[in-house]
């Protein structure tokens, strides 16, 4: 067998080993109820902010404590605690991807990715202000996320 073949085999073995260890660490996208069933396991929870409940964040008391309630697409609700600063667009977001684990009744979240209504969608979809209502207003400022 040629040296090059050995090297190729080693390279392939390394890739497979790398991918296998990676598979072991894979997590899943979950709803509130399926995350509850995996209590303590690291999951990605997709939900949105429950606006009927208060958002607790008081930086003077503790800048690393944010608590709010999340509501997923099938109606599951949970309290979420995020020990970090409040993401600025939290209230504006239409969807929240939270990475963390369910600890009893509370979702302990280590990372939040917000999906905000984007201006592209605003333009293409039906929700564009000023182009719908009877008394249009100039389009408001938008923000990036």
């Amino acid at each position: 067998m040629k040296k090059m073949h050995i090297i190729l085999l080693v390279a392939i073995a390394v890739v497979i080993a790398g991918l296998l260890t990676w598979m072991k660490d894979l997590s899943t996208y979950d709803t509130v109820s399926s995350a509850r069933r995996k209590d303590g396991r690291f999951v990605h929870l997709i939900a949105r902010l429950d606006k009927t409940q208060p958002v607790v964040y008081d930086p003077v008391k503790d800048p690393n404590y944010l608590a709010f309630h999340a509501l997923d697409s099938v109606g599951g609700r949970t309290k979420v605690v995020y020990r970090n600063a409040k993401p600025v667009d939290l209230e504006r977001s239409e969807r929240i991807v939270m990475k963390g684990r369910m600890q009893g009744e509370v979702f302990e979240c280590s990372e939040i990715v917000l999906k905000c209504p984007s201006k592209y969608k605003e333009g293409e979809g039906a929700g564009m202000k000023g182009l719908e209502g009877e008394t249009p207003v100039p389009a408001s400022a938008t923000s990036g996320s």
């Binding site: 040629k2 040296k3 090059m4 090297i7 390279a11 390394v14 890739v15 790398g18 991918l19 990676w22 660490d25 894979l26 997590s27 899943t28 996208y29 979950d30 690291f42 990605h44 997709i46 930086p59 003077v60 503790d62 800048p63 690393n64 404590y65 020990r83 970090n84 600063a85 409040k86 600025v88 209230e91 504006r92 991807v97 990475k99 302990e108 280590s110 990715v113 999906k115 905000c116 984007s118 201006k119 592209y120 969608k121 605003e122 333009g123 293409e124 564009m128 000023g130 182009l131 719908e132 209502g133 249009p136 100039p138 389009a139 408001s140 400022a141 938008t142 923000s143 990036g144 996320s145």
Partner: protein, 826 residues
């Protein structure tokens, strides 16, 4: 209905040239393909001439499309959707170009523009290769033009035009029943994403797209080589082009990293985000291809690998566009690429398919002719280790792109998998070993000879750099700067050996320039690039593993029992709140929030934070500097939100990096405590818990007796002096206005005393001064602060590497031209 104030001609011209560029590139494709297939026939010259005219027409059209759109954006013609969505009147002129790359159409236009420019260069320089290479370039232009035409073939819309009008896109909107809609409603645009309002964002996308676009040229030469069965001489041209491309693409990627570092708030320059990975993978393949090409040119080995790596680099550029533009990445990327490009899905897949099948089809049909050397490479030869390095780059590319494609696999197979808890470590644990091996090969391989190296030759020449690298590496390791214990001793050891190898790569290559090349810098491109690459690795390893959280919160409520998967403390509390003017110890510094100021435009706040460091023994201040992070104010229904831009203090050997995570904006104070009122008369005094307030003067004015008061009906203003019990005094001027019959209050706040002052009119018409003391007016900011040691090594290394690539490309071009002249003379 006739609408007033529209500028329709420019859009019609723009759209005409977009369609013309499609037609012209189709003509160029056909003519050049005919010329290529007719090779020796006298007709070939005629077809080639037609191809040239068509391609030049395409290039001019693309330029005019670009100019048309720029005029629309520059003149704020908001009847066009592109201008309305991506620009607004108050946007600074230098950011107008950024509007191009915010949208999908502008990005494709930029890409097409660079392809056209490069195509013209290829047309002039390719000589005998012109026809087949330009045919491939024209094919790329056909696809890019088709993304911009936005015309219907039956029910299928092909591409999307940047010249569509708002009123055609939203025909049912009521504002378009008014012929004056432009003056009344669409007076301003939506504006540019504030993250793009950064100088890096003006230059990073053009450079990156030039990098993307330039991968097409080596691709085209590889296809042409297979097509014409000239399996060797295509590399004469492809080599300098690949070097140019790798240099520019590398520069573009690192400019993106610099932008992320300076204006994003994930606290670093690289986060293994899918968008970053997707642009790095083509670079890895290109570099692998350059090395196998060099091996092939010197020894005849590795041609099949070159035919794999070089086309794959461009295909991966297309694939990365697919990942980032079609919304496939969805929830995994911090970059907001939404469903904007979902119409692109099939269109881009078709392009990827064509560009994959083209080289693959040729290769399969010509596989028996591709020259392969049966004899094995020697272990002591340069080509053997170059190939091993290239293979490792390829393997890394496969690893990274497989992980990055997970959301795409989910979409294909309906699964719901996601990368686990620690995304960065998934990459880092593999890449630290890759870095070690690659750095070692980078250091040693140049000292080997092609075919085989006599043992007595290489070792003595490597002696000095090896000793020096061991000493320097040991010094760095012992210095304790690489304190990165989070993942245990194995990973830490990986960091150390990778660092040693990287230092070795730098020193060995610098030594090579001196000892083997005798400082002939024109020929030193490769060594320079290698030394720069080594320096980048050093910078990455040191700045990442020595990254220090300055704002570690020791006062917050730490929750016991919160552990990560490895049983370590989860998520150190990273945010610290600074009260106004109250010094706060923070790591090795003491930080004080001095105050803030608002931009003249009123949409951005700058925060002044003073950092001081004292010598622990003497108590003397040894270091003192001001950091001014800023934040855009984004007004929304839920009050004003912040969009933060970091501020940093650059030293040669470290950066202190700060950004605001929360701020008490006076606009958002919703305090329930009420004002204590008393009549406001000049000379009166009011008391509060921290002192007293004197009313120096009350000024009353109304429209009838004061012509300088055009906007309000009447106004009252009180000039106050606040005397604190500690002897300090502050001025304040609350006011009460009546405008259009409605009252309005302008409160004034003395932050230092937590005192809010207001002026009101009682139901009896008496003017009253209101005082309120409140905890809610405690002025504060919340911030995160990091320290990055030696990050400048990364930037210096990048510059060196890019210069090395370009020097090398120039050297190869000159040697090709020399050999052409010798051939002609001979």
């Amino acid at each position: 209905m006739r609408y007033e104030g529209e500028h329709l001609l420019i859009g019609q011209l723009g759209h005409f040239f977009a369609v013309l560029s499609l037609v012209a590139s189709l003509a160029a494709l056909y003519a050049y393909a005919r010329a290529a297939s007719l090779v020796a026939s006298p007709l070939a010259a005629g077809w080639r001439r037609i191809g040239r005219i068509a391609f030049i027409t395409d290039a001019v059209s693309v330029l005019l499309v670009f100019v048309s759109l720029y005029l629309i954006i520059y003149n704020h013609w908001f009847e066009y959707r592109y201008a309305h969505q991506h620009s607004k009147r108050s946007l600074d002129v230098q950011y107008l170009l950024s509007c191009f790359w915010e949208g999908q159409e502008g990005s494709f236009m930029l890409w097409s523009f660079w392809n056209a420019v490069l195509g013209l260069v290829v047309m002039r320089s390719a000589r005998t290769w012109e026809a087949p290479v330009m045919a491939v370039m024209a094919l790329a232009q056909v696809f890019l033009a088709s993304f911009l035409v936005g015309i219907y073939f039956f029910d299928l819309r092909v591409g999307s035009s940047p010249f569509v009008l708002m009123r055609n896109e939203f025909p049912d909107a009521p504002i378009f029943r008014d012929p004056q809609y432009l003056y009344k409603y669409l007076v301003d645009g939506n504006g540019l994403n504030i993250l793009l309002q950064n100088y890096w964002m003006v230059i990073h996308p053009p450079v990156l797209f030039l990098g993307f676009s330039s991968t097409l040229v080596p691709f085209a030469y590889a296809v042409a080589g297979l097509w014409t069965r000239e399996h060797r001489s295509w590399t004469d041209h492809a080599l300098p082009w690949s070097l140019f491309s790798a240099g520019i693409l590398g520069l573009g990627i690192m400019m993106g990293a610099a932008w992320a570092y300076e204006s994003l708030t994930f606290g670093g320059y690289w986060a293994w985000d899918p968008v970053e990975n997707a642009s790095m993978v083509p670079w890895l393949l290109l570099v692998a291809g350059i090395h196998t090409m060099l091996v092939f040119r010197s020894t005849g080995h590795s041609l099949p690998a070159t035919y794999l790596f070089i086309p794959a680099a461009h295909i991966l550029v297309l694939y990365s566009t697919f990942l980032t533009r079609t919304g496939v990445l969805g929830d995994t990327s911090v970059h907001a690429f939404t469903g904007e490009g979902s119409t692109l899905y099939g269109h881009l897949l078709l392009m990827i398919g064509v560009f994959t099948l083209l080289p693959l089809g040729f290769y399969v049909s010509r596989r028996r002719e591709v020259p392969v050397i049966r004899q094995e490479e020697q272990m002591s030869s340069r080509e053997f280790w170059m190939f091993v390095g290239s293979l490792l780059f390829f393997v890394s590319a496969v690893y990274i792109i497989t992980l990055t494609s997970l959301p795409f696999f989910n979409r294909l197979f309906g699964s719901r998998w996601a990368i686990g808890e620690d995304v960065e470590f998934v990459y880092n644990r593999v890449m630290v070993l890759v870095a070690f091996v690659i750095a070692l090969l980078t250091a040693v391989t140049q000292y080997l000879r092609y075919r085989s190296t006599p043992r007595r030759q290489a070792l003595p020449r490597l002696l000095w750099p090896t000793v020096a690298a061991l000493a320097a590496g040991l010094a760095v390791s012992m210095s304790g700067i690489l304190r990165y214990e989070r993942y245990g001793p194995a990973f830490q050891a990986g960091i150390h050996i990778a660092l040693w190898a990287s230092v070795y790569a730098v020193l060995a290559n610098l030594h090579y320039i001196g000892s083997a090349l005798r400082w002939r810098m024109k020929a030193a491109g490769a060594s320079l690039a290698h030394a720069g690459f080594g320096l980048m690795l050093v910078g990455i390893l040191v700045s990442s593993s020595g990254k220090e959280l300055v704002s570690r919160n020791r006062t917050g409520i730490a929750v016991p029992g919160l552990k990560d998967a490895r049983g370590k403390d989860e998520n150190p509390l990273e945010n610290v709140t600074l009260l106004h003017r109250a010094p706060m110890p923070m790591g090795r510094y003491v930080a004080t929030y001095l105050g803030d100021s608002t931009d003249p435009k009123g949409d951005r706040v700058h925060f002044n934070i003073l950092f001081t460091r004292q010598d622990s023994a003497t108590g003397e201040t040894v270091d003192s500097f001001l950091v001014t992070p800023n934040a855009f104010l984004v007004k929304g229904e839920e009050g004003t939100q912040l969009s933060s831009n970091p501020g940093s203090k650059h030293y040669l050997h470290r950066d202190v990096f700060v950004y605001i995570t929360s701020w008490l904006n006076p606009d958002n104070i919703r305090d329930t405590s009420s004002f204590r009122l008393q009549p406001a008369r000049s000379g009166d005094t009011a008391f509060y818990s921290g002192g007293y307030v004197t009313i120096d003067r009350v000024i009353a004015a109304n429209r009838h007796d004061n012509e300088d008061l055009p906007v309000v009906d009447s106004a009252w203003l009180a000039q106050l002096t606040v005397h604190a019990s500690d002897g300090r005094t502050f001025g304040a001027e609350p006011a009460f206005l009546v405008k259009d019959g409605l009252p309005a209050v302008k409160t004034d706040t003395v932050w230092e005393q937590s005192l809010v002052l207001t002026l009101q009119r009682s139901p009896l018409g008496r003017i009253e001064l209101g005082l309120r003391e409140s905890n809610a007016v405690t002025r504060y900011i919340t911030l995160k602060a990091y320290l990055f040691p030696y990050i400048n090594l990364l930037w210096v290394g990048t510059v060196l590497m890019v210069v090395g690539f370009l020097v090398s490309a120039g050297y190869r071009i000159r040697s090709r031209l020399r050999s052409v002249r010798t051939d002609a003379a001979g």
